[in-house]
């Protein structure tokens, strides 16, 4: 009886200790992030955009983005919220549809570049000083030295105008920064004793790299993924404007490209709608990314 109650006591003590101690660095980071007002607001804005994109994907709205529904250059009204363009398409629907394009490009490029950067960066870092490291560094140097727009054009040409050329080109260049950061961190981590301990219990190299070292660089990967996401959206707009980007569909870059004629004629709706929406998303995501970085910074985590 008394043994049982003392056992219940120790369990309760344990739970109290756990609460006081904080469960993990991640929970601490989460708690910190939730106190960051700017971070929370920017996250809310990003979520709003994501919701808009989701609505497009599920066909809830903006499905008639390509249809000619009104007169040429209609001004802002309750029917055409952002007006219409030169051939009478609804600018609001087109801008909304472009949100989906932006998210698609951002997510694919962020995931691809982060994955590639994590794998190659950690392998290079772990085999630091060997030929494997040399090859990865050489690859980074070569890809870095090709002008970005030229690379996109080259890949688009070699893929015969495939709509994925832009994604591939971005992944092929964006992984480099992530890989450099991960490589540096892995070089630092691999000399720590828990890696030596993992070797001492007989784990293989693959397990050590991907199970023991890489998870410890996750804070870098998360922040790099958000940075790649924003960079991809911005690049998509520039590439689409130049005619190297989105081939089938609509994007803010294509809208700005279209508007070049309209701006000369004194009609700014297309241009402003695309620019402001892009600005809003990029700005919110950057602020979110900053807040995330602060929350994950181990130095400030320790202080709290």
């Amino acid at each position: 009886m008394s043994a049982e109650s003392s056992r219940a006591n120790t369990i309760a003590e344990n739970q109290a200790r756990r609460r006081a101690h904080g469960d993990s660095l991640w929970l601490k980071a989460l708690r910190k992030f939730r106190h960051d007002r700017v971070g929370m607001w920017s996250l809310a804005v990003v979520c709003l955009y994501a919701l808009a994109a989701l609505g497009v994907v599920t066909g809830l709205w903006a499905s008639d983005w390509a249809a000619v529904t009104g007169p040429k250059w209609a001004s802002v009204s309750t029917e055409y919220w952002f007006g219409t363009n030169i051939i009478g398409q609804d600018i609001f629907a087109r801008a909304l549809y472009s949100t989906r394009t932006a998210f698609e490009v951002g997510v694919i490029v962020a995931l691809g570049a982060t994955f590639l950067g994590a794998v190659l960066g950690s392998i290079a870092g772990f085999f630091n000083g060997t030929w494997i490291d040399e090859i990865v560094i050489w690859l980074m140097g070569v890809l870095d030295s090709v002008p970005f727009i030229l690379l996109v054009a080259a890949i688009a040409y070699s893929l015969q105008g495939s709509p994925w050329a832009m994604h591939i080109a971005m992944i092929a260049t964006f992984w480099i920064t992530t890989a450099r950061l991960v490589r540096g961190e892995v070089i630092k981590l691999k000399s720590l004793e828990y890696v030596e301990a993992a070797r001492a219990i007989g784990l293989g190299q693959t397990l050590i790299i991907f199970r023991h070292i890489l998870p410890n660089t996750f804070h870098i990967l998360l922040v790099q993924a958000t940075i790649s996401f924003v960079a991809a959206i911005k690049s998509e707009v520039i590439l689409s404007f130049l005619g190297l980007g989105v081939k089938d569909g609509m994007s803010w870059g294509l809208m700005i490209s279209e508007s070049t004629f309209e701006v000369l004629a004194g009609f700014f709706n297309n241009f402003i709608a695309a620019s402001v929406l892009m600005f809003g998303l990029v700005m919110a995501f950057n602020m979110f990314s900053d807040a995330l970085q602060d929350a994950l910074d181990p130095r400030t985590v320790k202080e709290s």
């Binding site: 344990n14 660095l25 828990y194 030596e196 219990i201 007989g202 023991h212 998870p215």
Partner: protein, 329 residues
């Protein structure tokens, strides 16, 4: 203290040489180390920082970081297998199951992103092919054995939730979970505070007896060696200077370096002294070693011969002590 009856030689190291490439040149961190270890025996590996004791320990498991280090020559015969020439994947099968190692720094020796249970299960699942659930209950059992209270709760803790002593206990539990025949303990208690040191040390020796495994205790703490070991090797500048049963080592140290080490331990003495005795001079730079005995410049018994050639490790007549000195006590 009685030696185990089983006089089988478990580990036979011969002329082990380990070198490291540095910017200034090649450094020979371990130079011709030879020793035997019987099953169940505890051996101390003693010396100052940088004398090659840790590198010797790492070499036994094939864990010399390469590059820049490498085992140049010599053999490490463990149960009839030469570990020095074994392929990496065969070594991996031995590490953690036949030979285990525990490290000096319990604060960094556990992966911070995993619960300790996951890390312990790794070893068991890898070497004993246990299922996730079996490994977990085996890990809980091991945690209880090393004296961790409430192992069912603690197994889900992250390393940062444990104290230094607790972490070292977890490391010990991990190292012993597959019942190795040999444990290499690299300064297992150095980073702990004194009261915890004693507890952890006691725990290690208790488990060692229970599992009947041999242990190499790498340390610079002679007190720890006196308490736990049956014999000890004293290293200086990468070579063994004395290899002796523990009583003989402390009663009649033969090598002047051993003598100097023992004299410099703070203790209660018959007469009052104002200063602790020290060994004069400095450890020579491993890149510019003298031609003769490496201890010659600091030695009070140095002779002409000592400066010309390096003394071999030889057995002193009528003792069980091996000593590398021309002028032993």
């Amino acid at each position: 203290m009685s030696l185990p009856d089983n006089n089988e030689i478990l580990l036979r190291v011969r002329d082990l040489v380990v070198e490291f490439d540095t910017d200034q040149g090649v450094v020979r961190a371990v130079d011709g180390v030879s020793f035997d270890l019987q099953s169940g025996e505890t051996m101390g590996l003693v010396g100052e920082s940088g004398c090659g004791k840790t590198v010797t320990g790492l070499a036994l498991l094939g864990l010399i970081p390469s590059p820049p280090g490498r085992v140049v020559s010599g053999s490490i015969e463990f149960q009839g297998q030469n570990l020095a020439t074994l392929a990496e994947d065969e070594l991996r099968r031995i590490r953690g199951s036949e030979i285990s190692m525990i490290f000096q720094e319990p604060m960094t020796a556990l992966n911070p992103v995993f619960r300790i249970g996951n890390q312990m299960s790794d070893v068991l699942r890898l070497h004993q092919g246990l299922s996730r659930r079996q490994a977990r209950s085996a890990a809980i059992e091991m945690l209880a054995k090393v004296g961790i209270p409430d192992p069912e709760q603690r197994i889900d803790d992250y390393p940062h939730q444990l104290s230094g002593g607790m972490r070292q206990r977890v490391m010990i539990a991990m190292a012993l979970s597959c019942g190795p025949k040999l444990l290499v303990a690299d300064e297992p208690t150095t980073a702990l505070d004194v009261t915890t040191q004693a507890q952890v040390l006691e725990q290690i020796t208790k488990l060692q007896r229970e599992f009947g495994m041999a242990m190499i205790l790498v340390t610079h703490d002679l007190g720890v060696v006196a308490e736990t070991c049956q014999k000890a090797i004293v290293m200086y500048c990468g070579s063994i200077v004395e290899n002796s049963p523990i009583e003989a080592l402390f009663e009649t140290p033969r090598h002047p370096y051993t003598g100097g080490l023992l004299a410099s331990i703070p203790r209660v003495r018959d007469e009052r002294i104002t200063e602790l005795p020290v060994i004069p001079g400095m450890v020579p730079d491993l890149l510019h070693l003298p031609a003769g005995c490496r201890f010659a410049d600091r030695c009070e018994r140095v002779s002409e011969r000592c400066r010309q050639s390096i003394p071999e490790l030889r057995k002193l007549a009528a003792t069980n002590t091996l000593v590398a000195c021309y002028e032993p006590y």
